[in-house]
Symmetry: C2
Subunit: 536 residues, 2 copies
């Protein structure tokens, strides 16, 4: 059991008596000594050949477990990405992973990796530089993916090192210390997991790591340069979403994930045992963000986990994802909100392009990433226009039916061809295909004040003007066959005076997937959850 | 059922056939006409006396349901907080809540409220300004908390209006339109809910709204100036936490809330039914943020829901709260992390002071808010020092026991008296009172590399250096009597090479509560969850 920090209840028992505490301390002392002994003798790791005098003695080996003694505290480390000709001739400390190593007689070639950056490391036997055969052997025997401390001279290379991101210099080792050992047999190699999946190089190695193998061994998989970049871009999506909305006067709120049966219920909901009763996991913050509007917060957003107990095993469904939700009161027309959302997304696309060029390129090294296109102002189409375009392309589709996923994708291609944009808004959906709380169009009761937004032909946002009149809302709910008693609290909130409002919900993982043009949402969820996966 | 937006499965059924869609549209048309009729005739709201000619005709009444017709779209509204003598003599449109109104013969005094700002509104019968008796009566009969549109002249007041936040001007109405009606009988009055709870004024009205009544009617309660301010400050806490850490090179991650039995389990965990199996709600992102460190993200933070199935009904426990968690690899000493966290909090305190002065003052109008004191650099005490201080104050406390909540509070007062700070770090807890994954002190195996941080004598953060050696971790887990098979995946993640790291978890609601000096965590959770409450 991993005990949580804040209320370490399970640990409190240990503190119950002084006796127990003392016993525990003694045992810990023993364990610590054992660990230190192991580290000193390097039991689990290769040691140099001790049969002859070693000029490198004290300059390599297994480092004692870093336990915060204060030792080496003032040592300055250099980041791999900072290595360059300007440091040529200088000696630096670097802590990095040993990605690969190959010892051959008197020398060892290795590659060090730090996040997305790699550099070549050489260990050459040399009396002058006090590098012994034993030290070369020791380094050659370190398991891949182990973390090592290296003290080395920065050396300008004669020709660029094509296999590394740092090409103009390499490191010549003087000291090598094993900080944390990886095990010998790894379930996958980061090198393999990082191989380009673009098919334009017929000479390329065809080794592929299966998606499930990656996810089963997510820690290793996440170490690839593409994954290091994807999750930094994802952090950027969230940061930009919040920054842009905060600048527009929105207030961040937090909505409960555990909800009572009364407010939501029925299909696609996970049940939670709640003390002697039961509760549900929120499928969206819908009700709560509307309540915040009724409570005078005017413009709100929330970023948080959303749960769908839907048995959909597709490339774009997760049972738990991060929702970027917003809701906003408006004066007279829901397009005030529609364009606020669209502008937010456009600003986000610009922010990603400008602030994450390096990361986007890193993803492009492994996956085929086409630049994401958008228009300013954004393209807004109305539902009948979409139907018309699909009909012209030979698709049979009803004017009051919802669009199927393949139709949406086709429409995305048609829009791209006609308007040169990967992002557009589809406005004025048929009323019949939208939730009961959607405001009908004032001029055509078969149409609604609702919209979806699309990236590369896939829906990333669904939104609408909501009905803020309690009686009208009740009528619409009844029409949809909804049990009014189950949503009494929801309807009641509009009897306290509520401004007209609209909003929308965005799936974060979808935005990242579609912005980069990736093929599976599991690539943009750090620890994805689907009907078949709740680990790691 | 409130249907979620992104995958409105329940709605898809309605779209199945065109027939159903058409039927739905017709019904909607009918409902809409009915709603319009109701609005036009003002069925649910008072109307003026129609027995005599009305000079105000067309200048007051119930506004048609705002359904985005495009009408009045270009009308410019003025915010209440912007009203001042510089606008004196001008006519402006204002949309606001009617907080109170009192009609008496030929005039009506009202107070308009918009978030935390209030202004006085006068409606005086006047032929010249086309204000009729009927219009005054209509306004006087509008229910409190309704939203109205007012067209009015800004008038300089002879003496300051003490009862409003806008004191130097008032509004003289020319038009009054009811936008959204509140019901006549409200479960609580915002005026009452906003009354000062400070006891220094013996003349003050002693009306109190009970905490449960507030929470049962949270939408109304949230409209008080103090609550409007509290949740803006809370948004600030989250924003500052993220901004400060992002500037320090941290990457935001998202960790799953649904977890398998294998990684966590046992006490205080909510169980979720997960398709044909079951799963659990994460008590903390502990394991996942450590995995992100093992996956080379170096410094990570995450903001998200955390769940504790603990039957604690205290002023400071919630079953669902927002965790501000961070984890960071370090080079040699966990104090690199400890001071990064402490600096982050100090910067946050400064940001709140500088950016939220108005909001802090608004909270101070209702609650006794003492300015929050902190030191630079922050105060770090070691556990034995705390024990010594408590002993000197006459408290009996064991040197290897954890501190009780009353002892923590007393210690907070002693520290405040001695060092003049409301924030401090308590370092080097006894090993026996911390979770199994806590790194022991290298010089004293009874002590650990762990720390808590306190605000006004209450714990807001718990953190430590974690054991990153799998064998040592296994030994410590066994010593704690933990079933190793249940945490195999957790231990395994350290066999892939992991840098030394430390971190901590902060309770967001606690930070806001204690920064402001409030007495109950339910005041800083918008929709709090405790063992007895899952609504609204």
């Amino acid at each position: 059991m991993v005990v949580s920090e804040e209320q370490p209840a399970a640990m409190e028992g240990d503190a119950a008596s002084k006796k127990a505490a003392k016993k525990a301390a003694k045992a810990a002392e023993k364990q610590q000594k054992k660990a230190e002994h192991k580290a000193a003798s390097g039991q689990s790791q290769p040691q140099g050949d001790t049969s002859e005098a070693d000029v490198s003695e004290g300059r390599y080996g297994v480092l004692k477990l870093i336990q915060s003694t204060g030792e080496n505290r003032d040592r300055v480390y250099t980041d791999v990405k900072q290595l360059g000709v300007n440091l040529s001739g200088q000696s630096v400390w670097v802590r990095a992973r040993l990605q690969t190593s190959r010892a051959k007689g008197k020398q060892c070639f290795a590659v060090l990796r730090q996040s997305s950056s790699t550099v070549q490391l050489l260990i050459n036997v040399s009396d002058e530089r006090r590098v012994s055969k034993q030290m070369v052997k020791f380094t050659g025997n370190i398991n891949k993916e182990s973390i090592i401390d290296v003290y080395a001279t920065v050396v300008k290379t004669a020709s660029p090192v094509e296999s590394c991101t740092i090409r103009d210099v390499e490191l010549s080792a003087e000291q090598v210390w094993l900080v944390s050992a990886a095990r010998a047999q790894l379930p996958l190699l980061v090198e393999d997991a990082a191989r380009p999946e673009k098919n334009d190089d017929p000479e390329a190695l065809k080794i592929r790591v299966h998606q499930d193998t990656r996810l089963d061994n997510r820690i290793l998989d996440l170490r690839t340069p593409a994954n290091q970049a994807i999750f930094r871009i994802e952090a950027g999506v969230c940061r930009l979403f919040r920054e842009i909305l905060t600048n527009k006067g929105f207030v961040e709120i937090h909505t409960p994930k555990i909800i009572s049966a009364a407010s939501e219920g029925g299909a696609n909901v996970f049940t939670v045992s709640y003390f002697k009763s039961s509760a549900y996991l929120a499928q969206s913050p819908q009700l709560y963000k509307q309540m915040a509007i009724a409570a005078d917060f005017d413009k709100v957003f929330t970023v948080g986990a959303v749960f769908r107990a839907e048995d959909s095993n597709t490339h774009r469904h997760l049972t738990e994802f991060v929702g970027l939700d917003l809701e906003m009161s408006f004066r007279h027309h829901y397009h005030e909100v529609l364009y606020t959302i669209a502008d937010t997304l456009t600003e986000m696309f610009k922010g990603l392009r400008d602030q994450f060029a390096t990361e986007i390129e890193a993803v492009g090294q492994q996956f085929r990433v086409e630049p994401f296109k958008y228009l300013e102002p954004p393209l807004r189409l109305e539902f009948p226009q979409a139907i018309q375009m699909l009909k012209e392309a030979g698709v049979t589709v009803g004017e009051e039916d919802d669009l199927s996923t393949p139709d949406e994708k086709l429409l995305g291609r048609l829009v791209r061809a006609k308007y040169d944009t990967d992002f557009y808004i589809l406005d004025k959906y048929p009323l019949a295909v939208r939730p009961f709380y959607t405001m009908p169009d004032p001029n055509n009761p078969r149409v609604s004040n609702s919209y979806d937004m699309f990236m590369r032909g896939e829906e990333i946002l669904s939104g609408a003007q909501r009905i803020h009149d309690p009686d009208f809302l009740t009528e619409r709910a009844k029409h949809h066959g909804i049990d009014i008693s189950k949503i009494a609290a929801y309807i009641e909130s509009f009897r306290l005076g509520c401004p007209p409002h609209a909003g929308g919900g965005i799936g974060m993982e979808r935005v990242v997937m579609l912005y980069l043009g990736l093929d599976n949402i599991r690539k943009t969820s750090m620890f994805p959850r689907d009907p078949k996966r709740v680990t790691p």
